[in-house]
Amino acid sequence: MKKRAAVAISVIAVGSLLGIAGCTSTPSDSSEKTIKVSYIKTDAFTALDDLFTKVKPEFEAANPGVTVELDPIAATDDDYKTKLALSHRSAETAPDVFYEDQGNVRSDAEAGYLLALDDYVAEWEDWSEFTDAAKQAGAGDDGKIYSVSLGTDTRAIWYNKTVMTNAGIDVPWEPQSWDDILVAARKIKASDPSVVPFNLYAGTGTGEGSNMQGFYELLYGTDLGGDALYDSESNKWVVGSDGFTESLEFLKTIYDEGLALTPAQALDPNIWKSVFGEMFPDAKLGGTVEGSYTPSFWVEGGSFEWPEYATEMGATAFPTKDGQAPGGVSMSGGWTLAVGSKSENPQLAFDFMAQALSFENALEYDNVNAQIAVRKDVAADDSYLGANPFVGAVTDLVEVTHFRPSTSIYNQISVEVQKASEAVITGKMSPAEAAASYDAAVTSIAGDDMVIEK
């Protein structure tokens, strides 16, 4: 009996050791090359999957012995970024080509996740078609090119004309100041309490989106303008500014008066799906700040098909606080494609990326996904200009648009901004308290000598 137990234990022990040994390495076949491509694919975002699914067979046919392994990740932007960063920590899991938020390029380049592409783009004839702004969007702190832009975007107020008209507001609606927004929103609330008059995203639920489509439109429209978050002259983070507190106060006003979504709704990471899928089509939302890519959800084949959007919706610039110059505010971001620094076949990876970014593919992607083109030849194409009725309006916003500070600690600062707006809309802190808490957090992250009192 004892002997049998001992044998059993040994078998289990040896077996598990063998199991461990078996896990350590899988030899790869040198003749077969695999390019792993990671990107986001959700029920609401399939444009990139469509693009890669189209490019994959073409690329494999042109490069015998190469397999393109598509790795679509169904996740929110923030979860995707986390997963991507974790996968970069080991050569076993790191993708060769991947979808990278422009806002993360510098930080990820500094982390050593991205391959410098200067030598590759130098030999790429299409590179000259990219605008200088687009080229810069993919640069790292050291000035090298780390990623190539897929397209950019701007942000505008999207409003429902029926809701506006029902509330007695003339369309086209062009608010000139924050007060104009409040006046219109209060009118809507008075005319139909079941309608959400004007939403601005806030809090950590929607992550970076709540800053890009909410707080920054306010902050960059205050007196410090483009330097309201990060002072470009001294290259320091701004603390103690009136604009920050005023922006939080505006959020507090619209949330406290019930002009925006309820705080509980605003903190739901999936709320934007209701905004696009239900609230606007059902005329239950007056207006909100959203990206230039908005029509892509409503066009035929989009996630929330609603062909009437072309006549039902309007787009206008978000006003500055008191209507001061330049009269409007927009934020730009966009996503890029990059090559992993641990890639075993960097040239192949770049070639795949370059093919995905070719004229035809970029045109198709920009049109389907309602992106603002970064290739000059695409921007001049008739089909691009006629892709949806709003292309002209949102492209004009490039004039008043702002980019996020391109520093490697930006992501941590962004989280602090989200926390501040969440504390205000949930009533946990007053705008002044939240601003003070933000200042303390920024000082702790950036260091005393990297902040400037304004």
């Binding site: 009996m1 004892k2 001992a6 234990i9 040994s10 022990a13 040896v14 598990s16 050791l17 923030d78 986390t82 960063a85 974790l86 993360n104 930080s107 990820d108 500094e110 982390a111 050593g112 996740y113 809090g203 950590t204 639920g205 309820t262 705080p263 509980a264 903190l267 990471p269 490697s408 600690i409 992501n411 941590q412 989280v415 969440e422 504390a423 949930t426 946990k428 702790s444």
Partner: protein, 318 residues
Amino acid sequence: MTAEVISTAQGAQSERRPGPQRSGRRSALKKISRFVRMIPLVPAIIIMVVFLAGPIIWSFYGSLTNAALSGANAANSSFIGFDNYVKLFNDPVFPQSLWITIVFTLASAVISQNVLGLGIALVVTRANKKLATIVSSTVVGAWILPEIVAAFVCYAYFSQDGTLNQILALVGLTGPNWLYTFPLLAVILANLWRGTAFSLLVYQAALNDVPPEISEAAMIDGAGGAKRLFFVTVPMIKNTITTNLMLITLQTLSVFTLIYVMTSGGPGNDSTTLPILAYKEAFRFGNIGYGTAIATILLVIGAIFSIIYIRAARPSKD
């Protein structure tokens, strides 16, 4: 089992029989055989060290660095001593989160799951078989569900347009958004619902081992229901209670999926227990070193609870 033990004991005795003159060689042999018997344990010990002690030491080391998910500190993290802990103890979120963790653990596990589990077990052992089967299978149902499914069920139950508010609407009441207005209560109730089955099963097994004669004897001596419970049944299953408390405390301290799915720790930090805080800091905000420091604190808290329970479970001289 008993027969086997006796036969082994006899075997051991018969081995001991040979005369004293050979005892020196015997003891040397014994030493060798003891060593040989240890050999099969070596792989197990190695596995324990590699997979249990290793990660703990590694995570403790990680908490002493400024490792990050992105940026310069991701490429080259450096040793920063106890800075993360200093920062943690100065962070206003930490005491709040620690308090929430303790409230969550005490309320949903130590008190609710434990008492309710024992209560239902007492009812089930006394009730007729049909009722007992229905009750215990209903309770165990929640335990069988994978945690992620249970979490979605609770989300659907407590959310704004959820089952609970629809039931309330039937009687003309408008319920609040439970996950937003009472997030901690919602997750406590959810964990209570999900975890009670464990205590129920443990106590059911223990109660079945309590000899009915003792209870009957107490009854003949004139002890009422409550007296019999507190002076006869509870002392007899004391060790089971301690073991159960230890297991459910440790389980509840590390609950993540349930809370993350239901409230993500929000609104604000109102339902952020330490595991949620550690996850948020490490993976959402990218501060791996800081998140690991929180995880290390959680490990210490778990260890403190374990020591308390293990001491309590030590057999008293009876």
